[in-house]
Symmetry: C2
Subunit: 170 residues, 2 copies
Amino acid sequence: MILLGQPGRDWNNSGVTGHGLRYFEDYLPGASYDCGSFSISEAQIISFATQFDPQPFHVDPEAAARGPFGGLIASGWHTAALVMRRLVDHYLSAEASLGSPGLDEMRWPNPVRPGDTLRVRATSVEARRSLSKPDRGILKTMIEAVNQDGRTVMRATATNFLRVRPDSDS
Amino acid sequence: MILLGQPGRDWNNSGVTGHGLRYFEDYLPGASYDCGSFSISEAQIISFATQFDPQPFHVDPEAAARGPFGGLIASGWHTAALVMRRLVDHYLSAEASLGSPGLDEMRWPNPVRPGDTLRVRATSVEARRSLSKPDRGILKTMIEAVNQDGRTVMRATATNFLRVRPDSDS
């Protein structure tokens, strides 16, 4: 069987993640995956927040310096979106991903500031076959982003639907 | 006392929301607020997802048509960011907002498709003074976004810190 990649995933033509995750069955509870790191600039923080979350401590460095965080911080939604990109590139199989019904216990325990570098880790915590839809499994993943000082800046438990391995591939 | 608005809130110089919400004490449990509506285009969906969530069903209309949703859908993070903008503009007091430690039970029960118009509603569900930080209260808010057909496309319970009314203003 020849595996064809999905469009829109320019990092990898095979549809398989760098961790070798292809179908639901490959996500083993307890396994933890490094999804790489990224840095965030003041310009990026202001640009995102101007569009989506224009509170003073996200968009105005002078007001932010006098505000509750003593300086500009990223919108939590910006952090979440950047973390999602790392999960798409390094954890969610392009071939198997069937979307997400939601997530739980999303937390931003420490602020993200300009120049921070965040590392993303995904840990599969629960995996079960769907009872109603036999083509898929339901995966729960603990997502964490940690800054260059080792402080957690975001965590959440995500739920994802993933295709099970086709019979022809077993 | 003269109330000065915070920078970065061009819709309202007073810092008071259109609903008259200014300080923590103004958010009464049970009160529900219409935060307005917005539409989302295919170009916006693809632009956001190309940057943050480049799964085929968010970025490639042809692949999406053959995919699990039968067409292109918005990234849930895009919906969340657009909903946040409505909350900043219509619900969170620019004067009192001290950020958010997180949110719970975030759900995307139905997909958001190109051309959809979403209405946002915020309902204060719990409000209590902080025991450790007397300058603030802790507000829990049920957030809902509903499409033009009355289907809920996002809901979540957000936690926000808000300044209490200063003594000089009582």
